[in-house]
């Protein structure tokens, strides 16, 4: 997206885990932008680095994991090297986060009201009473029936779907500009997944907040996101508008992923699958990380790592197939 200034800009982000047997690089030069009000889907297999990217942005990497390079900017201001206390003030206030499991995200010993009011008053200079009024309004907005009464209930009085609504209310309590939703529906019943995603998307749209939606569910991405970034082995394989990427994937890995999604209209006898599996962090091949599994692999892929190449329509793809030099040689 070529709009003025992106809300969030991640450049060449590197996250490393020092271990006894050498340093593992879990994110390797990850770059992407999120525009104001945009929903960016982040997809990839387990271990591709989706959640890690979210944790790095909000400054909650679990030690010994650390940011070893790159920049994260929120409205142009660097936030990856802030002092812990300054970063804490950004968490919740400017960047909110929704976690995967609503059953464990809420403290069982405090009422919903206590947790909401605490969060609101941490970031906003309001009285207990005002905070409570805000909290009730929030709960009402995320679709909790009889919010004024239910607010004094404990988390265990709510069902999974309702708890995830409470979690969304908590994440949005201090009106952040960016919400990182880390697999917000994975732990939920299929029947309520769509409702939760709708609630999240609607409220963020109302407030002009951007969303980084981490998931491995392509269906959710297709319905919700404006753009999608595909992660593979800690690197961005492809970024682009959702429609384009889903309908005409450019990176061979993305194409493989899309081929593996069952559809109602096609009646293929077998779903396509990508041979092999994603490399472990300590055995990422030289050159393109996908090269051992790629159907279009050629020499250059095995030695040189492809950077993101700008393509038409605001797309980017990290694949040598789309390098002008390659295309001249191959004539196809």
């Amino acid at each position: 997206m070529m709009t003025a200034e992106p809300l969030l800009s991640v450049r060449d982000l590197i996250v490393e885990f020092p271990t006894r047997r050498g340093t593992l690089r879990a994110l390797d030069h990850v770059s992407f932008d999120i525009a104001k009000g945009e929903v960016l889907g982040m997809v990839g297999e387990s271990g591709a680095g989706k959640s890690l990217t979210g944790a790095a942005i909000i400054g909650l990497l679990e030690p010994p994991g650390r940011i070893a390079g790159g920049e994260i900017r929120l409205r142009g201001e660097r936030i990856d090297n802030l002092a812990p206390e300054k970063m804490r003030r950004i968490r919740g206030r400017r960047i909110g986060m929704v976690f995967q499991d609503p059953l464990t995200s809420l403290n069982p010993l405090y009422t919903v009201a206590q947790q909401l009011i605490e969060t609101i008053r941490t970031h906003m200079d309001v009285s207990e009473k005002e905070a409570r009024a805000r909290a009730v309004a929030l709960l009402d907005r995320v679709g909790i029936p009889a919010a004024a009464r239910r607010i004094d209930d404990y988390p265990h009085h709510f069902s999974g779907g309702m708890r995830q609504r409470v979690v969304i209310a908590l994440a949005l309590a201090a009106e952040p500009e960016l919400v990182i939703a880390d697999e917000p529906t994975t732990a939920l019943d299929v029947s309520v997944q769509a409702q939760i995603i709708d609630v999240l998307k609607e409220i963020c749209a109302e407030r002009g907040a951007s969303v980084m939606l981490i998931t491995h569910d392509m269906g959710v991405i297709a319905e919700t996101a404006d753009r999608v970034a595909v992660l593979y082995a800690g690197r961005v394989a492809e970024i682009g508008p959702v429609r384009d990427v889903i309908q005409a994937a450019e990176h061979p890995y993305t194409a493989g992923l899309m081929g593996a999604i069952p559809t109602l209209t096609q009646t293929a006898p077998r779903l396509t699958q990508i041979p092999g599996s994603m490399p472990r962090l300590n055995a990422i091949p030289q050159g393109c990380a996908f090269n051992p599994r790629c159907p279009h692999v050629f020499d250059r892929c095995r030695t040189q790592r492809p950077e993101l190449i700008d393509r038409a329509g605001g797309r980017q793809v990290a694949c040598w197939l789309y390098d002008p030099a390659t295309q001249e040689v191959r004539h196809d």
């Binding site: 986060m97 976690f99 809420l106 403290n107 069982p108 009085h157 069902s159 908590l170």
Partner: protein, 328 residues
């Protein structure tokens, strides 16, 4: 809630009856009370007469019933050795033991939770590691050895604190003699309290640390941080409260054992409490005192257990099932 309390009280009554049975059997199996009371010189006629007068020829059930009903009104008979009502003896000694147990119990809880939280939050720091190492000593050294070592260092070598006794005591009505109000009473309390509470403190500390580390990994802690709550609010508001739920049970039970096992500490420090009374009674086969002590300790455990259960109920809202879970 009421049904819960009633059920627990009923269980407690059953436990107490069982203990009473054991205590009562002491009279029958630890020697013949007639011999202890009349001595070697009494004639056979005198013995038969006393046996009848004391109701020792009644059936077992009747005797047990008499024992229980007297015990309920606080009558445990007369001490063979001291020729005083047992209840009077125990009540006169109880303040000493309770004061000692209370001080060491509170100290063990406060320091245990404090050190536990510190070592959990500063995991890997040199001070944390030192505390953990020292705590190993607390767990592994026997109580009497710790007591003797403390006496040697602080009473014999440094001469800062008294090595035995309770110091000066003051009557505060109702026969309660307290050592809290005098300088020497407070000084005398320090060493026995440390000795008695050290093991419990290290136990609580290790438990708090393990629980806290577990809780700090929980999703709701991560979510609390992601909402930008201050470290203080996260560590002490959210993590500590969850940590304390299981700690309460253990601490409660430990308070029971502090009172029960004050025997050793009281012996080492010549502390004039119930424990010392019990040890002396064992030496002289003073069965009424032994039986009463047994019942007293059982009562302490039962009451503490009851309180712990109720506390649990207050701390953890999930146990309050009076409101049915209204999910959707």
């Amino acid at each position: 809630m009421l049904a819960f309390i009633l059920r627990r009280v009923l269980q407690s009554v059953i436990v107490m009856l069982t203990v009473a049975l054991v205590a009562f059997s002491l009279f029958r199996f630890v020697g013949d009370p007639i011999v202890s009371m009349l001595g070697q010189e009494a004639t056979l006629a005198e013995r038969v007469e006393l046996r009848d007068a004391l109701g020792l020829n009644d059936p077992f059930v009747v005797q047990f019933f008499t024992f229980v009903s007297r015990a309920m009104s606080g009558d445990f008979g007369i001490s063979y050795r001291l020729q005083q009502p047992v209840m009077e003896l125990i009540l006169s000694r109880l303040p000493a033991t309770l004061e000692l147990a209370l001080v060491s119990g509170i100290a063990a809880f406060l320091f245990g939770v404090g050190f536990g939280v510190y070592t959990a939050l500063r995991r890997g720091g040199w001070l944390s590691s030192s505390i953990m190492t020292v705590s190993l000593i607390g767990v592994s050294l026997p109580t009497f050895l710790i007591g003797v070592l403390l006496i040697w260092v602080f009473a014999v070598e440094l001469q800062w604190l008294p090595s035995f006794g309770r110091g000066e005591v003051v009557h505060v009505g109702g026969g309660w003699r307290t050592g809290f109000l005098t300088e020497s009473g407070r000084m005398s309390l320090i060493l026995p309290a440390i000795t008695l509470g050290l093991y419990q403190m290290t136990l609580i500390m290790r438990l708090v640390r393990a629980e806290m580390l577990e809780v700090l990994r929980a999703d709701y802690i991560k979510f609390a941080r992601a909402r930008g709550l201050s470290n203080r609010a996260v560590n002490f508001g959210h993590a500590l409260k969850n940590t304390l739920v299981p700690v309460i049970t253990i601490t409660g039970l430990q308070l029971g054992s502090i009172i029960a096992f004050s025997i050793i500490t009281e012996t080492v420090f010549q502390w004039p409490g119930v424990g010392a009374l019990f040890i002396n009674s064992v030496r002289f086969v003073d069965v009424p005192v032994m039986a009463a002590y047994l019942m007293l300790i059982a009562l302490v455990f039962v009451v503490i257990n009851l309180i712990v259960d109720l506390l649990y109920y207050l701390v953890d809202p999930r146990l309050r099932l009076d409101r049915s879970a209204a999910g959707h």
